[in-house]
């Protein structure tokens, strides 16, 4: 199954492949931000202004009413361009904060005038689209925005797992979800045509990325979704197997207050980590529990800090890991392929 994925080595932009020269430490004088939704304004825009050498952000938004709202909010901002027409390149970076259904067409549109791309997660609606994006971005930098990867807690879990300090890993359980409160400006998150699915397309990329960090191999065994009447699901349960032997259960929801934790059960201990937390709580079967803090921040890490780390590591330093983003898409594709109705609930 994995063989269908195109090989995605870390890109090394060259004079020949990039539209304009890319120095050792890149600068980003002119950046394109496609999409004017909440994630674009609240997460990406503040970071784009902080990129080395940034002088201008061109925000490209199709909706006239949304453009008007953005113009009102940023009317004194001379470094933000909000064109009525399609802007012209070249750009030093293109950030696609559009619904996943638009990513491929946006990549095709901007690739000739841009050497680096950040895509909001999920990378695309389907694996097929994701592969098309990857092949069109060959030679360019492609980073998919999954900021939970910037927390170090899973490094500790991986260490516990590979070193076997508390015996063999027996099971992984992840619960992620809360009553939906994202300030969406369109209904794209609820449209299968635009987002490719529902809660699973929304939350699973983060979780699968972390699981791929933990395991060498990950395969889907079962998937249950409650949007089986043609609509988009609000609840999903994904069962996977890590490294061919470890059962993994992922529960996701948009209308439940789930605990937002990953629990790893080892033969001699239980490790628990908040999915947005920097610390690991370890409870050995014998002896006192302990809190491990591998992150530079001991307290809770604000979302904007994770986004800042993402831009520094994945965009400025170029450690973009496109292969992992494709592997996430493969798992999502497989999950929807085997999905069955989730019974119960309200």
């Amino acid at each position: 199954m994995r063989s269908v994925l195109p090989s995605m080595p870390e890109p090394q932009p060259t004079e020949a492949s990039a539209p304009h020269p890319t120095p050792e430490t890149p600068t980003f004088p002119r950046v394109l931000l496609a999409g004017g939704g909440a994630i674009a304004l609240e997460a990406h825009l503040p970071q784009l202004r902080g990129l080395p050498g940034n002088q201008r952000v061109v925000l490209y938004e199709l909706s006239a009413s949304r453009r008007a709202a953005i113009r009102t909010r940023y009317r004194d901002d001379v470094a933000l361009e909000l064109p009525e027409q399609l802007p012209e390149g070249p750009f030093d970076l293109a950030v696609l904060a559009t619904p996943p259904g638009c990513h491929l067409q946006e990549v095709l549109r901007w690739r000739p005038s841009c050497p680096r791309f950040v895509l909001e997660k999920p990378m695309a609606r389907t694996l097929e689209e994701a592969c098309a994006i990857a092949s069109n971005l060959e030679g360019a930098l492609m980073a998919v925005h999954m900021p939970r990867a910037e927390l170090a807690a899973f490094d500790v879990l991986k260490d516990l797992y590979t070193q076997g300090r508390y015996g063999a890993l027996q099971a992984v359980q992840i619960h992620d979800g809360r009553v939906f409160d994202w300030p969406s400006v369109s209904a794209a998150l609820f449209s299968k045509e635009m987002s490719g699915g529902g809660v699973m397309m929304d939350l699973a990329p983060h979780i699968l990325e972390r699981l791929l960090h933990l395991f060498t191999g990950l395969e889907v065994e079962q998937c249950l979704v409650d949007g089986d009447r043609g609509a988009v699901e609000a609840n999903a349960v994904l069962q996977l197997r890590g490294d061919d032997r470890i059962p993994v259960t992922v529960t996701m929801s948009r209308n439940r207050h789930l605990s937002g934790t990953a629990v790893l059960t080892f033969a001699e201990a239980e490790a628990r980590v908040g999915l947005m937390a920097p610390t690991v709580h370890l409870a050995p079967r014998q002896g006192p529990g302990m809190t491990l803090c591998p992150d530079e921040d001991a307290g809770s890490v604000p979302f904007r800090t994770l986004v800042a780390r993402f831009y520094q590591r994945r965009v400025v330093e170029g450690r973009s890991r496109p292969g992992r983003a494709l592997e996430v898409m493969r798992l999502l594709d497989e999950a929807y392929r085997v999905a069955r109705p989730l019974q119960g609930g309200f």
């Binding site: 439940r256 989730l342 119960g344």
Partner: protein, 367 residues
């Protein structure tokens, strides 16, 4: 039967959607905020945005919507105008959900009937705006409008009278000064059944809607405590008489000004820089509840629950003495005209609400 539902993604609206689907009606869900689609997205139905809404192709219009907050750049007044215009323009039989809050202030032992001349306090913006809309609909479309004024409505997905209690008790003990006030709580499913009956056999009118029992708040608190399986309920005794609020006119002026979107935008960056404690005091001084509480359902080992004795939704009510006052209404008209409506006693909802609590607030898989 095609039924348009405004506010279909809300608590009562969604209960009605489920009842309508169960009866084989064709719901048309009208939405004002994409976020409200989260429950509806599970069902196959037509969705229409409320802007430029055309309801000429439906048989009945059901309104469960009411603007509570500024959305985007739209003030409460602008949203209310859109709502009113949509309801009046439809030209269809209309079932409009109002509230017993229009009878504020309540007096102990008195049960206002539907014909009472209402005059809620000017500071009660919710009751005022509900009453204005009731009157406008009665005057301009009275012959095709059924107005329902429910009491305390509880049940699955109810933010105030269900989730706030469950969240509070799951987080720990809950204490209020005095919970001796009486209410007639009604299960949302019963209200949805009534609305669906009214769709099928429409008649205009005005009805108070309540449950089968008059219960003290302390019984409700204990019930929620048992359903949540968490903390216990305590009464700390009647509150000392409160001082009249100083600068009440200034507070009212600040409240009105801060509802204007341009001023909200100006004030937001300043307010966000204030320390949390000062910000909370500022909000309370203006009579605004704190932001909805995110309850840590499963606190990590070593972490103390960061939840106050009451979530903000309930804290404001407790501090105002809300739970010590009777809020009873006359239900005789409802019982006479809808004799087949047999509302569910609180105790009979225990198992269902226990399942809901497990679904909504725990990691347990739905079964």
């Amino acid at each position: 039967m095609r039924v348009a539902i405004l506010g279909a993604g809300g608590f009562i609206g969604y209960a009605f959607v489920r009842e309508a689907l169960r009866r084989g009606m064709t719901p048309v869900a009208c939405w004002g905020s994409p976020g409200s689609l989260v429950l509806l997205a599970r069902h196959r139905m037509e969705l229409r945005p409320v802007e430029n809404l055309d309801l000429s192709d439906v048989d009945v219009v059901v309104n469960c919507a009411h603007p509570f907050t500024v959305r985007g750049n739209r003030s409460l007044e602008a949203q209310t105008r859109t709502l009113r215009d949509n309801l009046l323009a439809s030209g269809r039989p209309l079932i409009h959900l109002s509230t017993i809050s229009v009878y504020e202030p309540f007096t102990a032992g008195r049960r206002p009937g539907e014909d009472l001349a209402c005059s809620p306090p000017a500071s009660d913006q919710y009751a005022q705006s509900k009453l204005r809309l009731d009157r406008e609909l009665q005057q301009r479309a009275g012959e095709r409008t059924l107005i329902l004024r429910p009491t305390i409505v509880y049940g699955p997905f109810g933010r105030y009278w269900t989730d706030a209690f469950l969240a509070a008790f799951r987080a720990g003990d809950v204490s209020v000064p005095d919970a001796g006030g009486r209410v007639q709580p009604v299960l949302v499913d019963d209200l949805a059944r009534l609305m669906a009956d009214a769709c099928e056999h429409f008649r205009p009118g005005l009805y108070n809607v309540g449950g089968p029992e008059e219960l003290e708040w302390r019984a409700l608190f204990r019930f929620w405590s048992e359903v949540a399986g968490g903390g216990r309920f305590h009464e700390t005794g009647p509150r000392p008489p409160t001082r009249p609020q100083r600068f009440s006119e200034l507070r009212e002026l600040a409240r009105i000004l801060l509802d204007a979107p341009p001023l909200r935008r100006l004030a937001r960056p300043l307010v966000q820089r204030l320390p949390d404690s000062l910000r909370a005091r500022f909000r309370r001084a203006l009579g605004r509840p704190d932001r909805p509480l995110l309850v840590p359902i499963a606190p990590l080992p070593g972490e103390a629950p960061q939840v106050p004795a009451l979530p903000p939704d309930l804290r404001g009510l407790a501090e105002s003495g809300y739970f010590s006052q009777d809020r009873l209404v006359d239900l005789s008209r409802l019982r006479a005209d809808f004799p087949d409506l047999h509302p569910t006693p609180l105790e009979e909802t225990r198992a269902r609400l226990g399942d809901y609590c497990s679904f909504r607030f725990t990691d347990a898989l739905p079964t």
